[in-house]
Symmetry: C2
Subunit: 295 residues, 2 copies
Protein backbone atom coordinates (compact mmCIF):
# COMPACT_ATOMS: atom_id res chain seq x y z
CA UNK A 1 0.00 0.00 0.00
CA UNK A 2 1.28 3.44 -0.89
CA UNK A 3 0.97 5.94 1.91
CA UNK A 4 -0.90 9.13 1.13
CA UNK A 5 1.07 12.35 0.80
CA UNK A 6 0.48 15.74 2.37
CA UNK A 7 1.95 19.21 1.90
CA UNK A 8 3.17 21.30 4.84
CA UNK A 9 4.34 24.91 5.03
CA UNK A 10 5.93 26.64 7.99
CA UNK A 11 5.61 30.29 7.00
CA UNK A 12 8.07 32.57 8.81
CA UNK A 13 9.22 36.15 8.48
CA UNK A 14 12.71 35.08 7.38
CA UNK A 15 12.01 31.84 5.52
CA UNK A 16 9.25 29.53 4.38
CA UNK A 17 9.89 25.82 4.92
CA UNK A 18 7.85 23.55 2.64
CA UNK A 19 7.72 19.79 3.02
CA UNK A 20 5.90 16.76 1.73
CA UNK A 21 5.19 14.11 4.35
CA UNK A 22 3.54 10.72 4.46
CA UNK A 23 0.76 9.63 6.81
CA UNK A 24 3.30 9.07 9.60
CA UNK A 25 4.55 12.69 9.21
CA UNK A 26 7.89 11.47 7.87
CA UNK A 27 9.44 14.22 5.74
CA UNK A 28 10.01 12.89 2.21
CA UNK A 29 11.11 16.15 0.60
CA UNK A 30 11.80 19.63 1.90
CA UNK A 31 12.83 23.08 0.69
CA UNK A 32 13.66 26.38 2.42
CA UNK A 33 12.59 29.56 0.63
CA UNK A 34 13.83 32.98 1.84
CA UNK A 35 10.79 35.16 2.56
CA UNK A 36 10.55 37.75 -0.23
CA UNK A 37 7.42 39.40 -1.55
CA UNK A 38 4.20 37.44 -1.01
CA UNK A 39 3.88 36.62 -4.74
CA UNK A 40 7.48 35.45 -5.19
CA UNK A 41 7.44 33.42 -2.00
CA UNK A 42 4.12 31.69 -2.55
CA UNK A 43 5.01 31.03 -6.21
CA UNK A 44 8.16 29.26 -5.05
CA UNK A 45 6.10 27.14 -2.64
CA UNK A 46 3.74 26.08 -5.42
CA UNK A 47 6.70 25.28 -7.70
CA UNK A 48 8.08 22.97 -5.01
CA UNK A 49 4.78 21.16 -4.50
CA UNK A 50 4.33 20.87 -8.30
CA UNK A 51 7.70 19.20 -8.68
CA UNK A 52 7.14 16.79 -5.80
CA UNK A 53 3.69 15.86 -7.11
CA UNK A 54 5.24 15.11 -10.49
CA UNK A 55 7.72 12.69 -8.94
CA UNK A 56 6.01 11.24 -5.83
CA UNK A 57 2.31 11.51 -6.60
CA UNK A 58 -0.75 13.50 -5.64
CA UNK A 59 -0.94 15.50 -2.41
CA UNK A 60 -4.14 14.92 -0.42
CA UNK A 61 -4.23 18.06 1.69
CA UNK A 62 -2.13 20.98 2.89
CA UNK A 63 -1.32 22.43 6.30
CA UNK A 64 0.08 25.91 6.90
CA UNK A 65 1.70 27.01 10.17
CA UNK A 66 2.18 30.74 9.82
CA UNK A 67 3.49 33.82 11.57
CA UNK A 68 0.69 36.18 12.56
CA UNK A 69 -1.49 37.88 13.19
CA UNK A 70 -3.84 35.68 11.18
CA UNK A 71 -7.58 35.62 10.56
CA UNK A 72 -8.52 32.11 11.75
CA UNK A 73 -12.28 32.65 11.94
CA UNK A 74 -13.80 30.17 9.48
CA UNK A 75 -16.88 32.34 9.13
CA UNK A 76 -14.85 35.37 8.11
CA UNK A 77 -14.51 36.50 4.50
CA UNK A 78 -10.80 36.99 5.12
CA UNK A 79 -10.13 33.60 6.75
CA UNK A 80 -6.57 32.45 6.07
CA UNK A 81 -5.20 35.94 5.47
CA UNK A 82 -2.55 37.80 7.43
CA UNK A 83 -3.96 40.69 9.42
CA UNK A 84 -2.05 43.95 9.92
CA UNK A 85 1.58 42.87 10.29
CA UNK A 86 4.80 44.88 10.56
CA UNK A 87 6.27 42.49 7.93
CA UNK A 88 6.45 44.85 4.90
CA UNK A 89 4.07 43.99 2.07
CA UNK A 90 2.43 41.03 3.79
CA UNK A 91 -0.62 42.66 5.42
CA UNK A 92 -3.74 41.08 3.92
CA UNK A 93 -1.86 38.30 2.12
CA UNK A 94 -4.05 35.29 1.39
CA UNK A 95 -1.95 32.25 2.29
CA UNK A 96 -4.59 29.64 1.50
CA UNK A 97 -5.92 30.45 -1.98
CA UNK A 98 -2.64 29.91 -3.90
CA UNK A 99 -2.80 26.27 -2.72
CA UNK A 100 -6.54 25.63 -2.77
CA UNK A 101 -6.96 27.24 -6.21
CA UNK A 102 -4.15 25.22 -7.77
CA UNK A 103 -4.68 21.81 -6.18
CA UNK A 104 -8.40 21.77 -5.27
CA UNK A 105 -7.57 19.99 -2.03
CA UNK A 106 -8.34 20.96 1.58
CA UNK A 107 -6.00 23.56 3.10
CA UNK A 108 -5.73 23.97 6.87
CA UNK A 109 -4.07 26.88 8.60
CA UNK A 110 -3.15 27.88 12.14
CA UNK A 111 -0.47 29.94 13.86
CA UNK A 112 3.09 28.61 13.82
CA UNK A 113 2.99 28.28 17.60
CA UNK A 114 -0.38 26.52 17.80
CA UNK A 115 0.95 24.09 15.17
CA UNK A 116 4.20 23.60 17.10
CA UNK A 117 2.19 22.92 20.25
CA UNK A 118 0.18 20.34 18.30
CA UNK A 119 3.34 18.57 17.16
CA UNK A 120 4.93 18.58 20.61
CA UNK A 121 1.64 17.40 22.16
CA UNK A 122 1.22 14.49 19.74
CA UNK A 123 4.81 13.47 19.08
CA UNK A 124 7.16 15.40 21.34
CA UNK A 125 7.73 16.81 24.82
CA UNK A 126 4.02 17.05 25.64
CA UNK A 127 2.92 13.50 24.91
CA UNK A 128 0.35 12.35 27.46
CA UNK A 129 -0.34 15.89 28.69
CA UNK A 130 -3.79 17.49 28.79
CA UNK A 131 -2.76 21.07 28.03
CA UNK A 132 0.42 21.81 26.10
CA UNK A 133 1.68 25.34 25.46
CA UNK A 134 4.48 26.20 23.04
CA UNK A 135 6.44 29.45 23.36
CA UNK A 136 8.93 30.52 20.72
CA UNK A 137 11.68 32.93 21.73
CA UNK A 138 13.40 34.35 18.66
CA UNK A 139 13.00 37.44 16.50
CA UNK A 140 9.68 37.79 18.30
CA UNK A 141 8.07 35.94 21.18
CA UNK A 142 4.84 34.09 20.60
CA UNK A 143 2.84 31.35 22.24
CA UNK A 144 0.18 28.85 21.30
CA UNK A 145 -1.47 25.90 22.97
CA UNK A 146 -3.23 22.61 22.41
CA UNK A 147 -5.92 21.57 24.86
CA UNK A 148 -7.34 18.05 24.84
CA UNK A 149 -5.74 17.52 21.44
CA UNK A 150 -7.04 20.62 19.67
CA UNK A 151 -5.33 23.95 19.01
CA UNK A 152 -6.66 26.66 21.29
CA UNK A 153 -9.17 28.79 19.39
CA UNK A 154 -9.81 32.43 20.12
CA UNK A 155 -10.22 35.88 18.65
CA UNK A 156 -7.99 36.17 16.82
CA UNK A 157 -5.52 33.80 18.59
CA UNK A 158 -3.13 33.99 21.56
CA UNK A 159 -0.45 36.74 21.53
CA UNK A 160 1.45 35.59 24.58
CA UNK A 161 4.62 37.51 23.69
CA UNK A 162 2.99 40.83 24.49
CA UNK A 163 2.24 40.04 28.13
CA UNK A 164 3.42 42.66 30.60
CA UNK A 165 5.07 41.24 33.71
CA UNK A 166 6.65 42.66 36.87
CA UNK A 167 10.13 44.04 36.17
CA UNK A 168 13.29 42.37 37.39
CA UNK A 169 14.61 44.77 40.05
CA UNK A 170 18.14 44.37 38.58
CA UNK A 171 17.01 45.62 35.20
CA UNK A 172 15.92 49.02 33.91
CA UNK A 173 16.06 48.39 30.13
CA UNK A 174 13.17 50.22 28.47
CA UNK A 175 12.32 47.41 26.03
CA UNK A 176 12.06 47.39 22.24
CA UNK A 177 8.42 46.50 21.50
CA UNK A 178 6.98 49.28 19.32
CA UNK A 179 3.55 48.69 20.89
CA UNK A 180 4.37 48.11 24.55
CA UNK A 181 8.03 48.85 25.22
CA UNK A 182 8.70 46.42 28.03
CA UNK A 183 6.34 43.53 27.37
CA UNK A 184 8.00 40.08 27.27
CA UNK A 185 8.84 40.42 23.57
CA UNK A 186 10.26 43.88 24.20
CA UNK A 187 12.48 42.56 26.97
CA UNK A 188 13.57 39.04 26.01
CA UNK A 189 13.40 38.54 22.22
CA UNK A 190 16.53 38.29 20.06
CA UNK A 191 16.34 41.97 19.01
CA UNK A 192 15.87 43.00 22.66
CA UNK A 193 19.00 41.05 23.61
CA UNK A 194 20.95 42.66 20.75
CA UNK A 195 19.70 46.16 21.65
CA UNK A 196 20.58 45.94 25.32
CA UNK A 197 23.84 43.95 25.25
CA UNK A 198 25.05 44.43 21.66
CA UNK A 199 25.33 40.72 20.97
CA UNK A 200 23.42 37.44 21.14
CA UNK A 201 22.79 35.45 24.31
CA UNK A 202 25.40 32.79 23.54
CA UNK A 203 28.12 35.45 23.05
CA UNK A 204 27.72 36.96 26.52
CA UNK A 205 30.75 36.37 28.75
CA UNK A 206 30.66 33.86 31.63
CA UNK A 207 29.09 35.35 34.71
CA UNK A 208 27.01 37.88 32.74
CA UNK A 209 23.57 38.34 34.36
CA UNK A 210 21.80 38.20 30.95
CA UNK A 211 20.63 34.59 31.24
CA UNK A 212 19.27 35.16 34.69
CA UNK A 213 17.45 38.37 33.68
CA UNK A 214 15.93 36.81 30.56
CA UNK A 215 15.01 33.72 32.57
CA UNK A 216 13.28 35.94 35.11
CA UNK A 217 10.95 37.37 32.46
CA UNK A 218 10.33 34.12 30.58
CA UNK A 219 9.66 32.43 33.92
CA UNK A 220 6.96 35.02 34.63
CA UNK A 221 5.40 34.13 31.28
CA UNK A 222 5.53 30.42 32.15
CA UNK A 223 3.90 31.15 35.51
CA UNK A 224 1.14 33.17 33.80
CA UNK A 225 0.48 30.28 31.40
CA UNK A 226 0.21 27.87 34.33
CA UNK A 227 -2.19 30.17 36.20
CA UNK A 228 -4.43 31.08 33.25
CA UNK A 229 -4.26 27.96 31.04
CA UNK A 230 -3.21 25.42 33.71
CA UNK A 231 -0.97 23.74 31.13
CA UNK A 232 0.85 20.65 32.35
CA UNK A 233 3.56 21.11 29.71
CA UNK A 234 5.10 24.36 28.46
CA UNK A 235 7.66 23.94 25.70
CA UNK A 236 10.15 26.77 25.10
CA UNK A 237 11.62 26.72 21.58
CA UNK A 238 13.04 29.19 19.07
CA UNK A 239 16.52 30.53 18.35
CA UNK A 240 17.17 32.15 21.73
CA UNK A 241 16.41 28.83 23.48
CA UNK A 242 18.62 26.80 21.14
CA UNK A 243 21.44 25.74 23.45
CA UNK A 244 19.13 25.18 26.40
CA UNK A 245 21.11 27.50 28.68
CA UNK A 246 18.00 29.53 29.60
CA UNK A 247 15.92 26.56 30.71
CA UNK A 248 17.14 26.34 34.34
CA UNK A 249 16.72 30.11 34.73
CA UNK A 250 13.14 29.94 33.44
CA UNK A 251 12.33 27.01 35.71
CA UNK A 252 13.76 28.75 38.75
CA UNK A 253 11.93 32.00 38.04
CA UNK A 254 8.58 30.30 37.41
CA UNK A 255 8.87 28.22 40.56
CA UNK A 256 9.82 31.25 42.63
CA UNK A 257 7.01 33.34 41.19
CA UNK A 258 4.35 30.69 41.79
CA UNK A 259 5.62 30.00 45.32
CA UNK A 260 4.12 26.54 45.58
CA UNK A 261 0.95 27.41 43.65
CA UNK A 262 -0.47 25.24 42.10
CA UNK A 263 0.48 22.24 44.15
CA UNK A 264 2.73 20.21 41.86
CA UNK A 265 6.28 21.47 41.11
CA UNK A 266 6.07 23.74 38.08
CA UNK A 267 9.69 23.12 37.09
CA UNK A 268 8.80 19.70 35.62
CA UNK A 269 6.26 21.31 33.31
CA UNK A 270 8.79 23.58 31.58
CA UNK A 271 10.60 21.72 28.79
CA UNK A 272 12.63 22.07 25.60
CA UNK A 273 11.09 20.89 22.31
CA UNK A 274 11.60 17.18 21.60
CA UNK A 275 11.22 17.87 17.86
CA UNK A 276 14.01 20.46 17.80
CA UNK A 277 13.50 22.96 15.00
CA UNK A 278 10.83 20.86 13.31
CA UNK A 279 7.92 21.43 15.72
CA UNK A 280 6.25 24.02 13.48
CA UNK A 281 6.74 22.13 10.24
CA UNK A 282 5.55 18.81 11.71
CA UNK A 283 2.63 20.72 13.20
CA UNK A 284 1.71 21.99 9.74
CA UNK A 285 1.83 18.40 8.52
CA UNK A 286 -0.47 17.32 11.36
CA UNK A 287 -2.95 20.04 10.39
CA UNK A 288 -2.99 18.56 6.87
CA UNK A 289 -3.38 15.01 8.21
CA UNK A 290 -6.39 16.14 10.22
CA UNK A 291 -8.30 15.79 6.97
CA UNK A 292 -6.95 12.42 5.95
CA UNK A 293 -6.09 8.91 7.00
CA UNK A 294 -3.87 7.70 9.83
CA UNK A 295 -4.59 10.36 12.37
Amino acid sequence: MTSRLYGAIEAGGTKFRCAVVNGRTEILSEVRIPTGTPTNTLDACVKFFDSVQASLGELQAFGIASFGPLDLNRRSRTWGRLLVTPKRGWTGTDLVSPLSDRYSKPVYIDTDVNAAALAEAQLGAGRGCISVAYVTVGTGIGGGAVVNGSPLPGVPHPEMGHLRVPRDPRDSFAGVCPFHGDCIEGLASGPAIAARWGTSLDQLPAGHPGGSILGYYLGQLAAAIVLILSSDCIVFGGGVMRNGALLPHIRYSAGHSLAGYPLSPVEDRIRLPALGENSGLIGAALLALGSGEAK
Copy 2:
Protein backbone atom coordinates in the same frame (compact mmCIF):
# COMPACT_ATOMS: atom_id res chain seq x y z
CA MET B 1 -44.50 15.38 29.18
CA THR B 2 -42.85 15.91 32.53
CA SER B 3 -39.47 17.57 32.31
CA ARG B 4 -36.60 15.73 33.93
CA LEU B 5 -35.11 17.13 37.12
CA TYR B 6 -31.49 17.79 38.03
CA GLY B 7 -29.66 18.73 41.21
CA ALA B 8 -27.16 21.58 41.32
CA ILE B 9 -24.78 22.73 44.05
CA GLU B 10 -22.70 25.88 44.11
CA ALA B 11 -20.20 25.13 46.87
CA GLY B 12 -18.62 28.21 48.37
CA GLY B 13 -16.49 29.01 51.39
CA THR B 14 -19.31 30.99 53.03
CA LYS B 15 -22.41 29.19 51.78
CA PHE B 16 -23.57 26.25 49.72
CA ARG B 17 -26.44 26.98 47.33
CA CYS B 18 -28.43 23.91 46.31
CA ALA B 19 -31.10 23.92 43.62
CA VAL B 20 -33.30 21.62 41.63
CA VAL B 21 -33.78 22.64 38.01
CA ASN B 22 -35.65 21.34 35.00
CA GLY B 23 -34.20 20.62 31.57
CA ARG B 24 -34.36 24.32 30.71
CA THR B 25 -32.28 25.17 33.84
CA GLU B 26 -35.27 26.87 35.45
CA ILE B 27 -34.82 26.82 39.23
CA LEU B 28 -37.78 24.98 40.83
CA SER B 29 -36.50 24.91 44.39
CA GLU B 30 -33.48 26.36 46.14
CA VAL B 31 -31.82 26.50 49.55
CA ARG B 32 -28.80 28.32 50.99
CA ILE B 33 -26.75 26.47 53.60
CA PRO B 34 -24.04 28.29 55.61
CA THR B 35 -20.74 26.46 55.12
CA GLY B 36 -19.97 24.59 58.35
CA THR B 37 -18.02 21.38 58.73
CA PRO B 38 -17.92 19.17 55.64
CA THR B 39 -20.18 16.55 57.22
CA ASN B 40 -22.83 19.01 58.46
CA THR B 41 -22.84 20.93 55.21
CA LEU B 42 -23.05 17.95 52.87
CA ASP B 43 -25.69 16.31 55.11
CA ALA B 44 -27.82 19.43 54.77
CA CYS B 45 -27.45 19.32 50.97
CA VAL B 46 -28.60 15.69 50.89
CA LYS B 47 -31.53 16.51 53.16
CA PHE B 48 -32.62 19.22 50.72
CA PHE B 49 -32.41 16.93 47.69
CA ASP B 50 -34.24 14.16 49.60
CA SER B 51 -37.12 16.48 50.37
CA VAL B 52 -37.38 17.80 46.81
CA GLN B 53 -37.27 14.27 45.40
CA ALA B 54 -40.10 13.32 47.72
CA SER B 55 -42.29 16.14 46.42
CA LEU B 56 -41.20 16.75 42.79
CA GLY B 57 -39.81 13.40 41.67
CA GLU B 58 -36.53 11.69 40.89
CA LEU B 59 -33.38 13.65 40.11
CA GLN B 60 -31.52 12.41 37.02
CA ALA B 61 -28.03 13.76 37.67
CA PHE B 62 -26.11 16.25 39.79
CA GLY B 63 -23.70 19.06 39.01
CA ILE B 64 -21.32 20.63 41.52
CA ALA B 65 -19.59 23.97 41.00
CA SER B 66 -17.09 24.25 43.81
CA PHE B 67 -14.42 26.45 45.31
CA GLY B 68 -10.96 24.99 44.89
CA PRO B 69 -8.41 23.74 44.53
CA LEU B 70 -10.09 20.59 43.26
CA ASP B 71 -8.85 17.31 41.84
CA LEU B 72 -10.60 17.21 38.44
CA ASN B 73 -8.51 14.46 36.87
CA ARG B 74 -10.96 11.66 36.09
CA ARG B 75 -8.16 9.10 36.21
CA SER B 76 -7.16 10.13 39.73
CA ARG B 77 -8.16 8.14 42.82
CA THR B 78 -9.04 11.43 44.49
CA TRP B 79 -11.18 12.87 41.67
CA GLY B 80 -13.89 15.16 43.05
CA ARG B 81 -12.04 15.95 46.27
CA LEU B 82 -10.79 19.29 47.51
CA LEU B 83 -7.00 19.54 47.47
CA VAL B 84 -5.05 21.44 50.13
CA THR B 85 -7.24 24.45 50.94
CA PRO B 86 -6.90 27.18 53.57
CA LYS B 87 -10.61 26.57 54.37
CA ARG B 88 -10.33 24.89 57.81
CA GLY B 89 -11.32 21.22 57.85
CA TRP B 90 -12.11 20.95 54.15
CA THR B 91 -8.80 19.66 52.74
CA GLY B 92 -9.42 16.25 51.17
CA THR B 93 -13.22 16.48 51.40
CA ASP B 94 -14.98 14.23 48.90
CA LEU B 95 -17.78 16.34 47.41
CA VAL B 96 -19.05 13.71 44.98
CA SER B 97 -19.54 10.51 47.01
CA PRO B 98 -22.24 11.82 49.37
CA LEU B 99 -24.43 12.34 46.28
CA SER B 100 -23.35 9.39 44.12
CA ASP B 101 -23.59 6.93 47.03
CA ARG B 102 -27.06 8.06 48.03
CA TYR B 103 -28.73 8.56 44.66
CA SER B 104 -26.74 6.26 42.30
CA LYS B 105 -26.92 8.91 39.59
CA PRO B 106 -24.14 10.60 37.65
CA VAL B 107 -22.40 13.46 39.48
CA TYR B 108 -20.40 16.07 37.57
CA ILE B 109 -18.02 18.54 39.16
CA ASP B 110 -15.94 21.50 38.05
CA THR B 111 -14.65 24.72 39.58
CA ASP B 112 -17.20 27.40 40.46
CA VAL B 113 -15.60 29.73 37.91
CA ASN B 114 -15.46 27.19 35.08
CA ALA B 115 -19.14 26.48 35.76
CA ALA B 116 -19.96 30.19 35.82
CA ALA B 117 -18.13 30.61 32.51
CA LEU B 118 -20.22 27.75 31.10
CA ALA B 119 -23.45 29.43 32.17
CA GLU B 120 -22.47 32.85 30.83
CA ALA B 121 -21.26 31.25 27.58
CA GLN B 122 -24.48 29.32 27.00
CA LEU B 123 -27.09 31.64 28.45
CA GLY B 124 -25.50 34.93 29.42
CA ALA B 125 -23.01 37.62 28.47
CA GLY B 126 -20.86 35.28 26.37
CA ARG B 127 -23.49 33.86 24.03
CA GLY B 128 -22.07 33.46 20.53
CA CYS B 129 -18.48 33.81 21.71
CA ILE B 130 -15.76 31.26 21.03
CA SER B 131 -13.79 31.67 24.25
CA VAL B 132 -15.47 32.93 27.41
CA ALA B 133 -13.57 33.60 30.65
CA TYR B 134 -15.24 34.25 34.00
CA VAL B 135 -13.41 36.06 36.79
CA THR B 136 -14.89 36.34 40.25
CA VAL B 137 -13.71 39.17 42.48
CA GLY B 138 -14.80 38.58 46.06
CA THR B 139 -13.27 36.99 49.15
CA GLY B 140 -10.76 35.59 46.71
CA ILE B 141 -10.13 36.11 43.02
CA GLY B 142 -10.47 33.19 40.64
CA GLY B 143 -10.95 32.63 36.96
CA GLY B 144 -12.22 29.89 34.67
CA ALA B 145 -13.01 29.60 31.00
CA VAL B 146 -15.08 27.79 28.43
CA VAL B 147 -13.58 27.24 25.00
CA ASN B 148 -15.70 26.02 22.10
CA GLY B 149 -18.42 25.08 24.58
CA SER B 150 -16.30 23.04 27.02
CA PRO B 151 -14.78 24.04 30.35
CA LEU B 152 -11.02 24.56 30.05
CA PRO B 153 -9.25 21.47 31.37
CA GLY B 154 -5.81 21.51 32.92
CA VAL B 155 -3.68 20.38 35.81
CA PRO B 156 -5.28 20.95 38.17
CA HIS B 157 -7.30 23.92 36.77
CA PRO B 158 -6.73 27.65 36.22
CA GLU B 159 -5.75 29.76 39.25
CA MET B 160 -5.98 33.14 37.57
CA GLY B 161 -6.25 35.09 40.82
CA HIS B 162 -2.63 34.43 41.69
CA LEU B 163 -1.19 36.14 38.61
CA ARG B 164 1.52 38.69 39.33
CA VAL B 165 1.21 41.89 37.33
CA PRO B 166 3.15 45.16 37.07
CA ARG B 167 2.42 47.44 40.02
CA ASP B 168 0.38 50.61 39.72
CA PRO B 169 2.95 53.39 40.27
CA ARG B 170 0.46 55.17 42.56
CA ASP B 171 0.27 52.19 44.89
CA SER B 172 2.74 50.62 47.31
CA PHE B 173 0.39 48.32 49.27
CA ALA B 174 2.23 45.06 50.06
CA GLY B 175 -0.73 42.79 49.36
CA VAL B 176 -2.46 40.18 51.54
CA CYS B 177 -1.97 36.88 49.69
CA PRO B 178 -0.26 34.46 52.10
CA PHE B 179 1.48 32.80 49.13
CA HIS B 180 2.45 35.73 46.94
CA GLY B 181 1.81 39.01 48.73
CA ASP B 182 0.97 41.25 45.80
CA CYS B 183 -0.57 38.91 43.24
CA ILE B 184 -3.98 40.04 41.91
CA GLU B 185 -5.84 38.36 44.77
CA GLY B 186 -3.46 39.94 47.26
CA LEU B 187 -4.11 43.38 45.78
CA ALA B 188 -7.73 43.50 44.65
CA SER B 189 -9.86 40.96 46.57
CA GLY B 190 -12.39 42.00 49.20
CA PRO B 191 -9.98 41.29 52.10
CA ALA B 192 -7.25 43.28 50.30
CA ILE B 193 -9.61 46.25 49.99
CA ALA B 194 -10.55 45.99 53.65
CA ALA B 195 -6.90 45.70 54.75
CA ARG B 196 -5.68 48.69 52.80
CA TRP B 197 -8.62 51.10 53.13
CA GLY B 198 -10.46 49.79 56.19
CA THR B 199 -13.78 49.45 54.37
CA SER B 200 -15.43 48.00 51.29
CA LEU B 201 -15.20 49.45 47.80
CA ASP B 202 -18.71 50.92 47.80
CA GLN B 203 -18.02 52.77 51.09
CA LEU B 204 -15.04 54.72 49.75
CA PRO B 205 -15.70 58.48 49.47
CA ALA B 206 -16.22 60.15 46.08
CA GLY B 207 -12.93 60.93 44.40
CA HIS B 208 -11.06 58.14 46.21
CA PRO B 209 -8.48 56.52 43.89
CA GLY B 210 -9.48 53.00 45.03
CA GLY B 211 -11.63 52.16 42.01
CA SER B 212 -8.96 53.31 39.63
CA ILE B 213 -6.21 51.35 41.40
CA LEU B 214 -8.28 48.15 41.60
CA GLY B 215 -9.31 48.64 37.97
CA TYR B 216 -5.66 48.98 37.02
CA TYR B 217 -4.84 45.54 38.44
CA LEU B 218 -7.98 43.77 37.21
CA GLY B 219 -7.41 45.32 33.78
CA GLN B 220 -3.94 43.76 33.72
CA LEU B 221 -5.58 40.41 34.45
CA ALA B 222 -8.08 40.96 31.63
CA ALA B 223 -5.22 41.85 29.27
CA ALA B 224 -3.33 38.70 30.27
CA ILE B 225 -6.43 36.58 29.59
CA VAL B 226 -6.77 38.17 26.15
CA LEU B 227 -3.10 37.56 25.33
CA ILE B 228 -2.87 33.98 26.64
CA LEU B 229 -6.39 32.62 26.08
CA SER B 230 -7.53 35.06 23.35
CA SER B 231 -10.99 35.09 24.91
CA ASP B 232 -13.57 37.19 23.07
CA CYS B 233 -15.61 37.61 26.26
CA ILE B 234 -14.34 38.11 29.81
CA VAL B 235 -17.05 38.32 32.44
CA PHE B 236 -16.21 39.95 35.80
CA GLY B 237 -18.54 38.84 38.60
CA GLY B 238 -18.44 38.44 42.38
CA GLY B 239 -19.19 40.68 45.32
CA VAL B 240 -16.62 43.39 44.60
CA MET B 241 -18.02 43.82 41.07
CA ARG B 242 -21.62 43.99 42.25
CA ASN B 243 -22.53 47.60 41.52
CA GLY B 244 -20.58 47.67 38.26
CA ALA B 245 -18.52 50.72 39.29
CA LEU B 246 -15.23 48.96 38.55
CA LEU B 247 -16.12 47.97 34.99
CA PRO B 248 -15.06 51.20 33.22
CA HIS B 249 -11.78 51.23 35.19
CA ILE B 250 -11.03 47.63 34.16
CA ARG B 251 -11.86 48.36 30.53
CA TYR B 252 -9.67 51.45 30.48
CA SER B 253 -6.74 49.69 32.09
CA ALA B 254 -6.94 46.64 29.81
CA GLY B 255 -7.16 48.82 26.70
CA HIS B 256 -4.24 50.94 27.83
CA SER B 257 -2.12 47.92 28.69
CA LEU B 258 -2.77 46.18 25.38
CA ALA B 259 -2.15 49.38 23.39
CA GLY B 260 -4.06 48.29 20.31
CA TYR B 261 -3.00 44.63 20.56
CA PRO B 262 -4.81 42.48 19.43
CA LEU B 263 -6.54 44.44 16.74
CA SER B 264 -10.15 44.67 17.91
CA PRO B 265 -11.02 46.97 20.85
CA VAL B 266 -10.63 44.95 24.04
CA GLU B 267 -13.09 47.11 25.97
CA ASP B 268 -16.05 45.38 24.28
CA ARG B 269 -14.88 42.00 25.48
CA ILE B 270 -15.00 42.93 29.18
CA ARG B 271 -18.53 42.50 30.56
CA LEU B 272 -20.64 42.06 33.68
CA PRO B 273 -22.48 38.75 34.21
CA ALA B 274 -25.88 38.58 32.51
CA LEU B 275 -26.98 35.95 35.03
CA GLY B 276 -26.20 38.15 38.03
CA GLU B 277 -25.37 36.04 41.08
CA ASN B 278 -26.67 32.85 39.50
CA SER B 279 -23.86 32.15 37.04
CA GLY B 280 -22.22 29.51 39.24
CA LEU B 281 -25.46 27.79 40.25
CA ILE B 282 -26.80 27.70 36.69
CA GLY B 283 -23.38 26.44 35.61
CA ALA B 284 -23.66 23.58 38.09
CA ALA B 285 -27.07 22.77 36.61
CA LEU B 286 -25.58 22.78 33.10
CA LEU B 287 -22.91 20.32 34.25
CA ALA B 288 -25.71 18.02 35.42
CA LEU B 289 -27.63 18.46 32.17
CA GLY B 290 -24.54 17.43 30.23
CA SER B 291 -25.55 13.91 31.12
CA GLY B 292 -29.21 14.19 30.23
CA GLU B 293 -31.78 15.41 27.77
CA ALA B 294 -32.29 18.86 26.32
CA LYS B 295 -28.70 20.03 26.11
